[in-house]
């Protein structure tokens, strides 16, 4: 006979069953935290504008977007969407996720054919064109209301080969140079470097005399991809031409790579090969970098965490190279509506409502976000000349008013097409520079190897009819 156990099997089953039910009930009863509560609008913040939707809306709208680098933007945005939902009778939910996880999440939802109705990312989403709605109507309507969309945004949301607006691009963010005045003054550049040659000369001098390096990444991440393109364009090189033919293997690209080798040897350390999205901000705030290519987010961070560094940080536009002075956009907002979206009408109306309030977006992002229609934020120039967020001097950001003159899209001089999107998602360009800088191969070989990879990608997408060229 078995001994009488303290707990019979039945007791265990009953207890664990009840416990599971209890836990489930508790978790169902919990209210999710409502983000954005307590967002306090400053006295001078723009008033929200509301336009009645052209069609009667109902149902729900789910939005997937990045967690903005400037947190006050998300506080404003969540409140903004809630109010719009109340005004239109649409139940809106917003999910902010880390920027690095957005492309994978979008890919997963498109593959599953379900998920959010509206998705946003900070780089062109051309690779998702076959699975998203054409947003020509939204862009056209915005053009009708606010004038012509900036070319940088149009080329980052429109595929000329298929004639489809795979995304709606209502805004973007410039990518200027950030430099430390107290480091550049002693080497004869109190206003910072204005050309790539000055960057090499001054940066090397700072490295030699002050032991502080430059921060231009050559790693497998997004900032390094943008920095590499800025250098190439300024040297007259590019991945594709305006007709979407691969032109990477050129003397100009080799010259750009050769320049990067010299810049690395004179002014940088192996740190740039382990660069990540936070390295710019960390290094600048810690006073460990003399120059970085970044938006103003690192500066805004240091205004709060290290005001001395913020006061010492100044900006320069894209550096002049042998051919021109161009930088990539730091952020290019792309909003897509997937084919599986349950409420595309609400998504399109929301995009137009959001566009009408880009002035609020610019303000609550602390002048990080710029509009795709220049007239939409009439106060932008005044704010940049007299920063409402405490810059010293107050006109420190004034140079950004002309940012469209020295900023261009991924894919320049062509569009941000599917092939450019895949190349941008891979470490091909950063590695092209890094392999030569590390001495693994010479610049010519590095460019040739990168070109072979790029051509294979272009050929694949050309065969599918999604990009032009090849003739």
């Amino acid at each position: 006979m078995r001994p009488n156990p303290l707990w019979s099997r039945r007791d265990v089953l009953r207890t664990t069953g009840l416990a599971s039910l209890g836990l489930a009930a508790v978790s169902c009863a919990e209210e999710p935290e409502s983000p954005g509560e307590g967002a306090d609008a400053a006295a001078e913040s723009p008033s929200p504008a509301f336009t009645e939707p052209t069609t009667r809306l109902s149902g729900s709208l789910s939005i997937l977007m990045w967690s903005h680098f400037v947190p006050s933007h998300d506080e404003w945005f969540d409140q903004f969407t809630r109010e719009w939902g109340e005004q239109t009778g649409v139940s809106v939910t917003v999910d902010h996720i880390d920027v690095a996880g957005v492309p994978a999440r979008i890919a997963a939802e498109l593959s599953a054919g379900q998920g959010h109705d509206l998705m946003q990312y900070i780089a062109p989403l051309a690779q998702f064109e076959p699975s998203v709605l054409d947003l020509a109507d939204v862009t056209e309507e915005a053009d009708n209301r606010y004038g012509e969309q900036l070319e940088i945004c149009r080329k980052s949301s429109f595929n000329p080969t298929t004639g489809k607006f795979y995304a709606f691009g209502p805004g973007w963010v410039p990518d200027p140079g950030n430099f430390r005045r107290t480091m550049w003054e002693p080497v004869g550049f109190p206003d910072g470097p204005r050309t790539w040659d000055e960057l090499l000369e001054g940066g090397s001098e700072i490295m030699a005399t002050q032991g502080v390096q430059l921060g231009i990444g050559m790693s497998q991440e997004i900032d390094s991809n943008m920095a590499g393109r800025a250098l190439m364009w300024s040297f007259g090189a590019s991945i594709q031409d305006e007709n979407e033919n691969v032109v990477l293997d050129s003397p100009e690209t080799v010259a750009a790579v050769d320049y990067m080798v010299r810049l690395f040897q004179g002014a940088m350390t192996d740190e740039v090969f382990s660069w990540n999205a936070a390295s710019n901000n960390q290094g600048l705030v810690a006073g460990q970098l003399s120059y970085i290519l970044n938006s103003i987010s690192a500066y805004r961070t240091s205004q709060e965490t290290n005001p001395d560094i913020a006061g010492d940080t100044l900006f320069v536009p894209a550096l002049e190279g042998p051919a021109t002075a161009l930088a990539a956009q730091h952020v290019m907002y792309n909003w897509i509506i997937p084919q599986h979206a349950a409420n595309p009408d609400a998504a399109k109306e929301f995009l137009l409502h959001y566009t009408a309030n880009l002035e609020s977006a610019a303000y609550h992002s602390k002048l990080y976000d710029f509009p795709a229609w220049s007239g939409l934020v009439p106060n932008l120039k005044a704010w940049l000349e007299d920063d409402p967020f405490g810059s010293e001097p107050a006109n420190k950001l004034a140079f950004l008013a002309d940012a469209t003159e020295w900023a261009t899209n991924i894919g320049h001089p062509g569009p941000a097409n599917t092939a450019e999107g895949e190349v941008f998602g891979l470490p091909i360009i950063p590695n092209m520079f890094a392999r030569a800088a590390r001495g693994e191969v010479n610049p010519e070989q590095s460019v040739a190897d990168a070109t072979a990879e790029v051509e294979a990608i272009f050929a694949k997408w050309r065969a599918r009819g999604l990009i032009g060229g090849g003739g």
């Binding site: 099997r9 790693s219 740190e271 990540n276 810690a286 990879e453 599918r464």
Partner: protein
């Protein structure tokens, strides 16, 4: 004569009685308890595996999930890419070196953990922490420890006068490779130690005492008694270490994202970069499937080792 099954059941059986019978019947209950595991394996291993095979012979991309047969195109693209071969080589090197170090340190740790000393349970708890911490979370901690500017390891080395400047752990291929292997070893040694501890505890004391009486020293007992007797468990620990290293992409992805210049790229991370970040799902699937043959061999070896243990 065989009794009819109904004869053993209570005759008056209201709803509660039926529930009792179900709870008391071991066969259905066993299946009921197994069901979550079966569903889990089928849904999260079986289905993705079949999908991966399908995708590898298609032109599926992140933006276009529609299925078109593309034969071996994805494999051709993968083979033409030198990074694939580098990733394959790195995967084998990382796995091999990690496996040796995991077994070595696991054995040493197991010997320490079976010794009698004050605070043994606390030490055992602390030693197991790396294994119980989610890999992505612990790797983020390592990312900070190995940071190019703020590395506390560098700071300590500078304080004791062994270093000037920085090591740039993740910015130099050799150091980045060593860092990835070190993190794998750090997180998997506890698992190996616990497995081997079970083997060490199971060795009858009289065998060890007999060896001592015969004059065998520590090393001789180690190599001629302890290791042979625990060999099946050592093999299991080694194979688990190999599988977890071979299939992991989190450590590489968080620490180096495959850099510098793809010097730490492994098949799992390259499949993700190509398939998801690059959007070429077909090629990503083709690369990922290269993990399968070795995993299959490892699984067979593990099952054989376990069987041998049962026979012993």
């Amino acid at each position: 004569m065989t009794q009819a099954p109904t004869a053993t059941r209570p005759s008056a059986a209201p709803a509660t009685g039926r529930r009792r019978r179900l709870g008391d019947r071991e066969g259905p209950l066993a299946w009921l308890f197994l069901l979550p595991a079966v569903v889990y394996v089928v849904a999260l291993v079986g289905v993705p595996f079949v999908l991966a095979i399908g995708f590898a012979f298609s032109d599926v991309s992140a933006g276009d999930p529609s299925y078109d047969w593309a034969g071996l195109d994805a494999y051709r693209r993968a083979f033409d890419d030198p990074v694939f071969w580098q990733a394959l080589r790195n995967t084998l090197v990382f796995t091999g070196v990690s496996m040796v170090l995991i077994v070595l340190f696991g054995k040493v740790l197991a010997n320490i953990l079976i010794a009698d000393f004050r605070g043994k349970w606390l030490v055992r708890f602390l030693v197991l922490l790396p294994w119980t911490t989610p890999v992505a979370l612990s790797t983020v901690s390592w990312l900070w420890l190995l940071d190019s500017i703020f590395s506390p390891i560098d700071w300590i080395l500078r304080q004791v006068g062994l270093l000037e400047g920085n090591m740039y752990w993740l910015g130099r291929p050799t150091l980045a490779t060593a860092s990835v292997i070190a993190v794998h070893v750090w997180r998997l040694v506890p698992l190996a130690a616990v497995i081997m501890m079970a083997g060490l505890i199971a060795i009858p004391r009289d065998i060890d005492e007999a060896a001592r009486v015969d004059g065998a020293g520590f090393w001789r007992r180690m190599f001629e008694v302890t290791i042979p007797l625990t060999m099946p468990l050592i093999a299991v620990a080694a194979l688990f270490g190999a599988i977890f290293t071979f299939t992991d992409m989190a450590v590489v992805y968080v620490l180096t994202r495959g850099g510098p210049t793809n010097s730490t790229q492994v098949l799992a991370s390259w499949a993700f970069v190509r398939g998801i970040e690059g959007g070429d799902v077909a090629q990503g699937a083709a690369i990922a499937l290269f993990l399968f043959p070795l995993l299959l061999a490892a699984a067979v070896l593990i099952l054989r080792a376990v069987r041998r243990m049962q026979v012993m």
